[in-house]
């Protein structure tokens, strides 16, 4: 390649796209009323508020322990339930296991579920079951099925078909093939994905808590609403600790399974 080739000419075809991008950003800034003065005012207000958040209200620490535990338990219960159901959806959505009609149905359900934010699921469930951890558990479990089911189905579709043929060739039933070839090949991946999902769920449960699932997210929301900012800081610290610990734990477990 000569230098003359390595020039602006090569990037010329990106010009229209770049122009459209810039116009779009400018237009949306205008439409959403972004203004630099507002930005400055917001930052200053935020900074002045920030002083109210410090120092944290250490005495609130023991009030936070129980809600943090509730959040943790919600995730510890919800994730395995979601993982268990994702096996059903994963199998139903895999091309090399399920008949076409079942596969399409399962893939559609998974896609719809993945399209719905947990918070929407929670709001529906709260309407049905009322406020509280139970609705939170259900929302997170359902929310986990989509991601875990899709990853599982993809993993199953990647299994070498000859391995499955070889097990079928000894006279095994389709269910035996699933039990003795499909599941052993994909379960470690499912466990690893579930643990990752557990981390995601810990974060999500904070938000869900504020909406009505209880736990530490609710404490944070309540503290801010009552203008007890240093208490809110304590809740944030607790959340950070929770997220940090769940990350450490999941890294540790993952290193054991894979």
């Amino acid at each position: 390649m000569t230098w003359s080739e390595f020039s602006f000419e090569r990037y010329r075809r990106y010009l229209p796209a770049a122009a459209i991008f810039i116009v779009a950003v400018a237009a949306s800034a205008y439409l959403s009323e972004v203004s630099l003065t507002d930005l400055r005012r917001g930052i200053l207000k935020g900074l002045s508020l920030l002083t109210l958040f410090f120092p944290p209200d250490w005495s609130a620490c023991k009030d936070m322990l129980q809600p943090a535990l509730v959040t943790l338990v919600i995730c510890l219960v919800a994730t395995p339930i979601g993982a268990a159901f994702s096996i059903v959806f994963g199998l139903a959505a895999a091309r090399n296991i399920a008949p076409e009609w079942l596969r399409l149905t399962a893939r559609t359900v998974i896609a719809v579920e993945r399209g719905l934010p947990e918070i929407v699921i929670l709001l529906v469930l709260v309407a049905a079951f009322g406020l509280g951890p139970f609705a939170g558990v259900m929302a997170l479990a359902i929310g986990s099925i989509g991601m875990l089911g899709k990853l599982l189905a993809d993993a199953i579709e990647e299994i070498d078909p000859r391995v499955l043929d070889a097990v079928a060739a000894v006279g095994a039933t389709p269910w035996q093939v699933i039990r003795h070839a499909v599941l052993p090949e994909v379960l470690p991946a499912l466990v690893a994905n579930s643990i990752f999902r557990f981390e995601v769920n810990v974060r999500a449960s904070v938000l869900l808590g504020a909406v009505g699932a209880g736990g530490i997210g609710y404490e944070l929301d309540a503290a801010i609403n009552q203008l007890e900012y240093s208490r809110a800081t304590m809740a944030v610290l607790m959340i950070l600790l929770l997220v940090f610990l769940s990350e450490r734990a999941s890294d540790w477990v993952r290193s054991k399974v894979l």
Partner: protein
């Protein structure tokens, strides 16, 4: 005894993959399928195991008891229970062996019995002590007893092939199909696998695909040569260089070449 009658497979595109394949394999035989890549060796064996559909033909086999099994009937592919009942009597050793890599070696051997035990029992992994010790004996026979608890994915090519043979032995079939069991192995390991299979064939016949005419001549009792889906030779394993040329160089396209080969085999 295995009897393959008029097996044909044509694709919807019109391409012929198997063309009127008929042959027998009798007790005590170790039959080698020879032929260039794409000749239809794998397809023939997949058809015998009922793993692929065919356009026409029939596959029947039976053991000492005289009870007959079939994977492909004249009316088409058998299905469900009958197919599984037939399959559990065929020990298939696949090309590249295709074991479940994440399972321990012993579990892979146990898979050989799935067709014979109640599905519910196998779901709970309820293999009996008797079955476990038989599986160990099968591993012993192929020299892999020390590997029983190893993860299958961590084995070498030769070791994997031995485990696949142990699985087939543990299956207690009436015949064995072996698709290129030694192709991926170095000469020493290939020789060792052939030495394992030779005595097995005396118990239950083996039909195997090979690419090593030298070894085939030494270990096998008969050769069936395929070319573009047709049988072009069915006879003694000691082939001349000229015959091998015809099997592998595609000159057998001409019908007279087929006659030449067969005549050479008969003389």
């Amino acid at each position: 005894m295995l009897e393959v009658k008029g097996l044909s497979k044509r694709l919807p595109t019109g391409k012929t993959i198997l063309n009127d394949i008929s042959f027998r394999v009798d007790k005590g035989e170790f039959v080698a399928l020879l032929g260039a890549s794409g000749a239809g060796k794998s397809m023939t064996m997949r058809a015998i195991a009922g793993l692929t559909s065919v356009t026409a033909g029939e596959v029947v086999f039976s053991g000492e008891s005289g009870k007959c099994y079939t994977t492909i009937t004249a009316s088409g592919k058998t299905s469900g229970k009958d197919l599984r009942r037939a399959r559990r009597n065929i020990g298939v050793i696949f090309q590249g062996s295709n074991l479940v890599k994440r399972l321990p070696v012993l579990d892979n051997v146990m898979i050989g019995r799935l067709g014979r035990i109640h599905p519910l029992r196998s779901w709970l992994y309820g293999f009996t002590d008797q079955e476990a010790s038989e599986a160990m004996a099968a591993l012993e026979r192929v020299g892999m007893a020390g590997f029983a608890s190893r993860r299958t994915g961590s084995l070498s090519g030769g070791e994997v092939q031995r485990v696949a043979i142990a699985r087939a032995i543990f299956q207690r079939p009436l015949l064995y199909l072996a698709d290129e069991p030694v192709s991926s192995l170095d000469p020493k390991n290939a020789e060792a696998i052939m030495q394992l299979m030779q005595p097995l064939a005396r118990e239950h016949p083996i039909l195997g695909a090979f690419h090593q005419p030298g070894m085939v001549m030494h270990y096998c009792t008969r050769v069936i040569a395929l070319h573009k889906g047709s049988i072009i030779y069915n006879g003694a394993p000691n082939l001349s260089a000229k015959q091998l040329d015809e099997i592998y160089c595609g000159q057998a396209d001409r019908p007279e070449a087929t006659q030449e080969l067969t005549a050479a085999a008969e003389s």
